[in-house]
Subunit: 426 residues, 2 copies
């Protein structure tokens, strides 16, 4: 046990040396032809399938450890792999492989009056560090998306998933090597102490970007100590505004789906705003529908009055809460402006939806609400890279720099200016 | 004098209150119709012209102060405004006004299999802080570009230009007010102490991005203290590679232009790499051409041997130097791979050029050199927002996040996902 614990600690020099190797590998990956990166992705999917017994055995060790430490059932569920989940992980890699190639693509070509031909060429970012918690599938998803975008990555998962991540990292390494790419292009950090994160996110000469994924505590820790750029979201306090001209049946279905289909995820609904013009009818029906699904409703004075016996009075904290549970805050607002003002004050720049048949109101909501995903007549649950057509998702950004909203492989690239002339001078 | 000095000091509370006002103004500007922002830009240009006498008088105060403090002539030249320079500043604002509108533009619309219509809408970033040094034109350029992109900005110029910046800020405020926009949309910080910068770049709840422009010292100070995202470049160590298949006359003209047309700017040429296959002919001619223009040449052993009496031996530091002066480093490299490796090791991700008639060599150089601008058969001096067709430039980024290379108004925007449905749930 002592030896195993020690193996989880790596020194700052070790981390620097891992990151240097990742940097060198990033140059090889960036220059590798598209076919070679494609072959590596296909080989990684195959290796995950071929090594399933060893991966599941490693996962069982993590599950045993989690049970011994009394981890919460939700955490254990996130940690668990089985045949079906492994098959889905491998299938996601194949899907990413099948997406169109990004790197080297020329965009926005134009010719200047002096004859210079200007274009932008899509290129990788370099080395991406991903810091995450219990879900071992992130190891393979992140590796595949980074590779698709021509980057190397350094993956530092949670201690709960240590053995699973090492085993999955082994499958990824096998796939890279089968395609003739350096295994250091995807480095799974053999450490689970928090100091390793602090060191990693300080290596701004070797790492181009850090994406933390997990609870707010982890994300704040990374943001606080990072010297490299960080793309993150802290939380998703998603709103649904039921406008005066809403189709009420549609609003009920969208509210129900937003709140109850998967309450623990960041695009789940947390607050419902109901237009005063229809509150008398809409509030009782929303409360009945959600209450019938076991949702606790915390309302403002109007909702308490209209919503029936089950409604609790909301406190100030409820308007900013990300419950991640079967609880919803509900308020009556005077009009579209009041709804937008409420979202501006309490929103988290994640996802907000309006249900209305009034095209002008919808257009104003979509234009004026500044959140990274704005939705008309559909569920907030669509704020997801796969659902929005990105193929897969490396994370969601609620800060506006570089990427805003769900990020796929393209979010892991940038573009450079390519200038072609015939001897022009200035 | 005491009163004047005191007026340059503002407290942390003052800065927070300025930034809060800028944040509130940013919401107004973001929602303002395109015509209103356009009208403000046109009115700003008019106000700069109308207030020219007062602006030039303020500038004279700064010039007197600079002379009294014995500032370097180059610095005084950057500080100086005259009728012609003011006219150019106003004309640049009119040009920015005439550029196509960005905000609210829908891009990449597609319909998903479930009927959801997905698009991206271009939106402002919010509040941009620009921290800069002696050149007062930045005050107006930055204000105009931020406004074009629907942002508010906080401008903190150098102490040398204090009165000029206040006067130009007054003209900008007059233009904003004439168009019915809040003057706080462009805030010129009435302070010149460095502590104010430290405070500003820590206000991550109010400021979305900081762009420092100036010397490496200023930029490092900002990068070190910032809690807001920073877009920057430290230096431009630009390379020209004269390939074996170069048109030698073209190479001579491009080398001469890159080094001598404006040696003090970041896209000026600092290092010339000559392919060994043509070194016997090319090195003597390059040295003669540049030497004849008063350029000091610091060469490796081959260049010292071939370049004639005027060539000094380079030291290791020369390969990383940004001279910003009539000095150039020159080395002979074995081939394209050696040139790319040299640039990878010593480049600053700014701008690199190749001169060659060999299309395959050019294509490899353009693809494999990772700098933010790569150039074939033209001068590095074209790495400039105006020359690349961006209309104007807020800065150049040599870090890959968000923007890479010259940034215009579009670099001051981001995009959100807009989802339109007919009741879809998940």
């Amino acid at each position: 046990m002592l030896r195993e614990r020690q193996s989880h600690l790596v020194t700052e020099a070790d981390l620097r040396s891992l990151a240097s190797a990742a940097r060198a590998a990033s140059r090889v990956v960036a220059k590798a032809p598209a076919q070679q990166r494609h072959a590596a992705l296909v080989a990684i999917a195959a290796a995950v399938r071929a090594q399933a017994p060893a991966i599941l055995a490693a996962n069982q060790r993590d599950l045993d450890g989690a049970a011994a430490r009394g981890l919460a059932p939700a955490m254990i569920d996130r940690l668990r792999l089985d045949e079906q989940r492994l098959a889905a992980i491998a299938a996601a890699v194949d899907e990413i492989a099948a997406q169109p190639e990004l790197i080297g693509r020329l965009e926005r070509e134009e010719t200047r009056p002096n004859g210079l031909r200007i274009a932008r060429m899509r290129i990788p970012l370099g080395v991406i560090a991903i810091v995450y918690e219990a879900r071992p599938n992130v190891t393979v998803d992140a590796a595949a998306l980074c590779l698709k975008a021509g980057n190397a990555c350094i993956l530092r998962g949670g201690s709960e998933a240590f053995h699973s991540n090492q085993a999955l990292g082994g499958a990824v390494a096998a796939g890279l090597e089968a395609a003739g790419l350096p295994a250091a292009a995807v480095t799974v950090v053999p450490s689970t102490d928090r100091e390793a994160i602090r060191t990693l996110v300080g290596l701004d000469d070797l790492i181009d970007l850090c994406i933390p994924r997990g609870g707010e505590g982890l994300i704040r820790f990374v943001a606080e100590h990072a010297r490299v750029p960080v793309i993150k979201h802290y939380k998703g306090v998603c709103h649904l505004y039921v406008h005066a001209a809403a189709d009420l049946e549609m609003a009920l279905a969208i509210a129900d789906n937003g709140k109850t289909s998967r309450p623990g995820v960041c695009n789940a609904l947390e607050t419902i705003l109901v237009d005063r013009a229809i509150a008398d009818v809409a509030v009782p029906r929303l409360c009945a529908r959600l209450g019938g699904k076991g949702v606790e409703i915390r309302g403002d004075a109007d909702v308490v009055r209209l919503g029936g016996a089950g409604v609790r009075a909301a406190t100030a904290a409820d308007w900013d809460a990300e419950y991640l549970d079967l609880i919803v805050a509900m308020a009556v607002v005077d009009d579209l402006d009041a709804a937008i003002a409420h979202i501006e004050r309490h929103g988290s720049d994640h996802t907000e939806a309006i249900v209305t048949t009034d095209a002008a109101a919808a257009a104003r909501f979509l234009a004026e609400v500044g959140s990274s995903t704005v939705v008309h007549n559909a569920s907030t649950r669509f704020a997801d890279g796969g659902e929005l057509g990105l193929g897969a998702e490396i994370g969601i950004s609620t800060t506006r720099l570089h990427a805003y909203g769900p990020m796929g492989a393209e979010g892991l690239t940038t573009s450079k200016f390519v200038v072609r002339g015939t001897g022009q001078i200035r």
